[in-house]
């Protein structure tokens, strides 16, 4: 049995006027069918670039090295023509902003029919029937009337449901959801996450859920990767990570988040400084400038991967100290 998705040493750099911006450094992911993986991090940490690289949708100024193996085939060496056959068919993506990712001048029915006719070779009437079935599947009422609606006639939650129907149309092996609920209200967010979860379980797809919201990740994934400045700083089983936050950044991120029920007595913990500039990253650990544990060698050399057992891995020079501060005094 071949691994469904195997990303090896992926590096992405973007050529800019100010020099190369290293968006992703030395990324490794393996996923099997039916697994759910969460990628969490702040803006500019490389989450979305990773997703775009998988889909072969990187901007033109991007340069990649490494391998992205989908069932053994390297996607980075594929031609655009070959990628068109994979994209939407074996791998599909749900974007953050459902308003701008749907075409406003076509009916939603026509947009769902497009991949069905292209990838599955259905006739027009077959594709129409399938589009109605898919809309019904994602919980849109009156699907046979809604297929004739344009995106502006639907609410934000319904548009995101249409995006999900589109992504599901060819039963992909991997579904990538890039901040699928960030533009939605909490109640709608819960409905959409429920929908994605049940569809993924029924179809046995692998799901990559990208979000900056630790709560969304904690409740919807089995494994999680925390990214900072283009590198994975901590990864492992979701339940395990949230009970044993180890990397100084993960600890800070968790402490900085306002949580329901914490009241107003306590002050929020802050991580000093701001997210790093990807053009002038330090040679070593990208978190050095904001890390309370940073010591002499941090800036110069990249820390190695330490395994804490149960597949929980952390990249940090001062691992022992980081472990000792798990009870939350690191930033106080």
């Amino acid at each position: 049995m071949m691994t469904l998705l195997d990303i090896k040493n992926l590096d992405i750099s973007l050529q800019t006027a100010m020099g190369p911006a290293r968006a992703v450094r030395n990324l490794n992911i393996t996923m099997e069918k039916g697994e759910t993986l969460g990628i969490v991090g702040e803006s500019g940490c490389g989450k979305s670039m990773t997703a775009l690289a998988l889909m072969g949708l990187l901007p033109e100024n991007a340069q990649t090295t490494g391998e992205i193996l989908l069932s053994g085939e390297d996607l980075l060496t594929k031609t655009e023509k070959d990628m068109c056959k994979i994209r939407g068919n074996r791998m599909a993506m749900i974007f953050q902003e459902p308003m701008t990712s749907l075409n406003p001048v076509y009916t939603v029915g026509r947009q769902i029919m497009e991949p069905l006719r292209l990838h599955r070779g259905l006739s027009k009437s077959e594709a129409y029937d399938e589009a109605v079935r898919l809309l019904d599947r994602v919980g849109i009422p009156n699907p046979s009337e809604r297929v004739y609606n344009h995106p502006h006639q639907l609410s934000g939650g319904q548009r995101q449901r249409v995006m999900i129907a589109l992504a599901l149309s060819c039963s992909p092996d991997i579904l990538i959801a890039d901040e699928p609920t960030t533009a939605l209200d909490v109640t709608i967010q819960a409905q959409i996450l429920d929908l994605i979860h049940s569809l993924v379980t029924e179809e046995g797809m692998a799901l990559i859920l990208i979000s900056h919201d630790l709560g969304v990740i904690a409740e919807n994934t089995q494994k999680v990767m925390v990214m900072y400045g283009g590198t994975i700083v901590e990864s492992g089983e979701t339940d395990h990570i949230f009970s044993e936050l180890t990397h100084p950044y993960t600890q800070g991120l968790f402490a900085a988040m306002p949580k329901l029920g914490m009241g107003r007595k306590k002050r929020l913990t802050t991580i000093p400084g701001t997210v790093p500039d990807l053009i002038n990253l330090p040679q070593g650990c990208t978190f050095t400038d904001r890390c309370p544990l940073a010591s002499g060698g941090c800036r110069e050399t990249m820390p190695g991967l330490s395994d804490l057992g149960n597949g929980h891995t952390v990249i940090c020079h001062n691992l022992e100290q980081a472990k000792d501060t798990r009870n939350g005094e690191l930033y106080s």
Partner: protein
């Protein structure tokens, strides 16, 4: 004896929809259906609700940025509804606003010094040196350096830009700051810095906040009182602790249950 900074009474705002045909009756979006509340000095009043529930319409009406259909808004006892812009201008130094988008709300052509000083130029006749003094003072209180005066907004990160926007709101020494989703465009680690800043400024300057957010955890952290809005009306209002501990309205309960919580080991029950 604390004074009432903001008193809103039975505020109504309906937006007309385009007519479906020439003879059809005009239809309306009922953005605000008789909203009333009061904020005492030095308190933070949170307003939560989904998009489209009328939160931002409420902010614009309190700030007298658009015409109100009926009702009254009193800021420090002065009625603002039904007055012309010229009549309201002298009152504006008492109420200022911080917007959601720190990228769109600062003029990219102006230096930070000019952006921050602008409300003063409109509201208070001060000499150049007095203005410079006030600018330096507010920049210091929001944690920016005096050298930042010469810089332009693009040289700052999102969190720092929101500090500039807060400095601009603070410079007239207002009694009330209306903040419409001030942290929702920011990253988690930076969001915490801005939230702590807002709290510190309340302690040092005694400002009153009307704080609009869709994020319940943020409101719980910052606000003394909270009002839950749904379809243009306030459905529940009270002390933050009480609302979050014993929400009585079903809509508030739905909102609270929908918030994903990390670290509780909870998975969505499906």
């Amino acid at each position: 004896m604390t004074r009432t900074v903001l008193e809103v009474n039975n505020l109504v705002r309906h937006y007309p929809l385009p007519k479906e045909s020439l003879f059809a009756k005009p239809r309306f979006v009922h953005a605000l259906n008789g909203v009333s509340f009061k904020i005492e000095e030095g308190q933070s009043f949170g307003i939560v609700g989904e998009s489209g529930c009328g939160k931002s319409t409420l902010a614009r009406n309190v700030m007298a940025l658009e015409d109100t259909d009926s009702g009254s808004v009193k800021i420090l006892g002065n009625e603002v509804v039904g007055k012309s812009f010229d009549e309201i201008r002298p009152l504006r130094k008492d109420f200022q606003m911080v917007f959601q988008d720190p990228y769109g709300s600062l003029d990219p052509h102006h230096t930070v010094g000019r952006i921050v000083a602008e409300p003063l130029a409109a509201l208070e006749p001060l000499t150049k040196s007095e203005t410079a003094e006030r600018v330096a003072e507010v920049l210091d209180s929001v944690g920016l350096k005096p050298t930042d005066i010469q810089k332009y907004p693009h040289e700052f990160s999102g969190g720092q830009r929101q500090r500039i926007a807060i400095a601009r709101a603070l410079i007239t020494r207002p009694a009330l700051i209306v903040a419409d989703e001030p942290v929702s465009a920011l990253d988690v680690s930076v969001q915490a810095q801005v939230l702590n800043l807002l709290r510190d400024l309340q302690e040092s300057h005694g400002v009153t906040y009307m704080f609009i957010s869709h994020d319940l955890a943020v409101v719980e952290y910052l606000c003394d009182e909270v009002a839950v809005m749904y379809k243009g009306s306030i459905v529940e209002k009270g002390r933050t602790e009480d609302i979050f501990a014993n929400a009585t309205h079903p809509y508030t309960q739905t909102l609270l249950n929908a918030v994903p919580q990390p670290g509780t080991g909870r998975h969505q029950v499906r």
